[in-house]
């Protein structure tokens, strides 16, 4: 026993590493995923630091000058700083507006993603652990909801609820929880029949404790993967709804609202007002998706070589 362990450790030093170190090494094997993670990191840092690194607070009407309206990229503003990405119709510096918009887009996407994850996880675990009628009813509702596209569910909800940050987050949660519930239930069903659960039951550990302390940690890997992809989806969906004018109000200009504002200037050739916020959205969504793809490959034991 001991020399088998010793010889395998001698053959591949990687085996001796902690699981986290191995996970890290495998994740960074892909150059694209590494680049995507770096890009995502930069985007998050820019969004968090937005108020301190932008020349203008786009919501402070005292700092916005209508005379600066629709300036092409690289123009100098009335206040003297250079607008590297130009300005929008109201005279806001686009660079400042985009970073502030990123803050809103990211926080709405992440907040709705996390709440949907917690709710979906709880419902999925309950379904898997209780089984029987409860499970049948829950899974019927999940199936029913998944038969409608998520974007349509969200659109229906905002049509009913109206505009506002709280309402859009609620709509995104309702549109997403079913994906998490299905994922958790699927994994938990497999985990429930494993020996360690049987062992825990023999030790007389309570059902709740088994579900949350033993089964749940083993369901986390697929949840993280679904979580990253769904968050990207939520950000994109929020932008779409805001663009349609049924999402966030003008007072909370996310990237979608900025793109919508630039739409009217597009046909007259003032491309930058829509294009730059769009690129910010694009980089965010694509980098999250690429990171999610790599996470799926690394965390899925079936794909291990």
């Amino acid at each position: 026993m001991t020399d088998i362990a010793a010889s395998s450790a001698a053959k591949t030093p990687a085996e001796a590493e902690t699981p986290f170190q191995r996970f890290r090494a495998e994740f960074f094997e892909s150059r694209i995923a590494t680049a995507a993670l770096a890009l995502l990191g930069i985007i998050v840092i820019l969004a968090v630091l937005a108020p301190w690194i932008t020349p203008q607070n786009p919501y402070d009407l005292g700092q916005v000058d209508v005379l600066d309206g629709r300036l092409p990229p690289g123009s100098e503003s009335f206040a003297g700083y250079t607008m590297w990405l130009g300005s929008d119709g109201a005279g806001r510096d686009l660079y400042s507006a985009i970073l502030h918009g990123l803050r809103i887009s990211l926080s709405v996407g992440v907040a709705s993603g996390i709440i949907a994850l917690v709710i979906g996880m709880a419902i999925g675990l309950i379904a898997a652990y209780l089984g029987g009628r409860v499970e049948a009813v829950i899974m019927r509702i999940v199936d029913l909801q998944l038969s409608f596209p998520a974007s349509l569910v969200a659109l229906m909800l905002v049509a009913a609820l109206g505009k506002g940050v709280d309402k859009i987050i609620l709509a995104l949660i309702v549109a997403q929880w079913a994906y998490y519930a299905r994922t958790v239930r699927g994994t938990a069903l497999v985990e429930r029949n494993k020996e360690y659960v049987e062992a825990a039951q023999c030790l007389g550990i309570s059902r709740l404790r088994i579900v949350f302390r033993h089964i749940l940690p083993n369901c986390l890997a697929p949840l993280i993967v679904v979580g990253t992809v769904q968050t990207a989806h939520a950000i994109s969906l929020e932008a779409t709804l805001s663009f349609l004018g049924v999402g966030l109000p003008q007072t909370e200009p996310s990237l979608g609202v900025l793109i919508a504002n630039g739409f009217e200037y597009m046909l007259s050739g003032r491309y930058w007002i829509s294009v730059f916020p769009g690129l910010a959205l694009l980089f965010t969504v694509v980098s999250i998706n690429l990171v999610g793809d790599q996470l799926r490959d690394v965390l899925n034991p079936r794909l291990k070589k």
């Binding site: 409608f148 009913a160 779409t240 349609l244 694509v286």
Partner: protein, 325 residues
């Protein structure tokens, strides 16, 4: 079998009923449409008359019962803005949406399947890698932003096709559609391409997976041994086998195309149901919103019902499992 179909029908009816409750109460609790419809200098008596005319003075459950009674007779209420029946308004806008969704589906099949075929036959070639990277982009790019870029490139910079609106309507075999005129086709191209992007990616992935699986099968080896040309093996034998799942899935996606057309129609000012919905939401035209949502729910429930029944015909295990549960 009959029992199965009846059970599914009852379930579908229950879903439609539940959705009508959610949609009706949800939509009618938000906002006050009266103030958008009357002139700002109307006095209290005018406002009250308007409220009564629209039936908004009754308690909400009574409004719902009236709505349900009307719905059973095919009347989903009158639009607050246009004064016409909401159902008629939506049916009037439906052909434009159908036309767009149909063209998008055709584009997805015509563009997606050949690209997927190529990527499946030569998985290691740089072109295939490019196609696959493109399909990932197709999945992750937000539709509305791609739409804007398409307008900017093809309509504003190059000026090849018009940016917005629907073209002249022509008539062929008694069917009226803008697909029958040159002007109409040039108008439908951009929005249809925009709407099709996601489905093109889907078609590429399905076809590629199908081809890669089929190429290792015995019947392909046998056809090779028989001395058939590669062209014939691929176009006749392989295609025949992979087309069935691909076309089935694409057909099922038609529903989501109609759902997604809300975004595309708004960008391209396409006069379909989706644009009608967004306008109705913004103007608080509740009957139109309710009617649209009910029609979409009905549409999806119907598609799911048909799929369920088809699957149970094709695969008896589905039917048996349902009876056991």
């Amino acid at each position: 079998m009959t029992v199965f179909v009846i059970r599914r029908l009852l379930q579908a009816l229950l879903v439609v009923f539940l959705m009508s409750v959610i949609v009706f109460f949800g939509v009618n609790i938000v906002g006050d449409p009266v103030y958008m419809l009357i002139s700002p200098d109307a006095d209290q008596a005018d406002i009250e008359a308007a409220i009564r005319r629209l039936g908004l003075d009754r308690p909400i459950w009574e409004q719902y019962l009236l709505f349900l009674k009307g719905a059973a007779q095919g009347d989903l209420g009158n639009s607050f803005i246009f004064g016409e029946p909401a159902l008629k308004l939506i049916l009037h806008h439906m052909p434009a949406t159908m036309e767009l969704a149909f063209t998008a589906l055709m584009l997805a099949i015509v563009i997606g399947i050949p690209l997927g075929l190529y990527a499946g036959l030569y998985p290691d070639s740089p072109i295939s890698k490019g196609i696959m990277a493109g399909s990932i982009l197709g999945f992750s790019l937000p539709t509305f932003w791609v739409g804007l870029m398409l307008i900017m490139l093809f309509a504003v910079e190059l000026g090849w096709v018009p940016a917005t609106g629907r073209g002249d309507v022509g008539s062929f075999l008694g069917i009226e559609s803008s697909l029958f005129t040159r002007d109409g086709l040039s108008h439908v191209f951009l929005p249809a391409l925009n709407l099709a992007l996601l489905k093109i990616s889907l078609a590429i992935r399905l076809t590629r997976a199908g081809v890669r699986e089929a190429m290792g099968q015995d019947y392909v080896k046998y056809a090779r041994a028989k001395g058939l040309t590669t062209r014939r093996i691929i176009l006749v034998h392989v295609m025949k086998n992979i087309m069935i799942p691909v076309v089935t899935v694409m057909g099922l996606e038609f529903g989501s195309l109609i759902g997604f057309s809300v975004v595309t129609e708004t960008i391209f000012a396409w006069p379909g149901m989706g644009k009608l919905l967004i306008d109705a939401i913004l103007q608080l035209d509740r009957p139109v919103v309710v009617a649209y949502l009910m029609i979409i729910v009905l549409f999806f429930v119907l598609i799911n019902l048909i799929v369920d029944i088809l699957y149970s015909v094709l695969d008896p295990r589905v039917r048996l499992r349902d009876q056991g549960a």
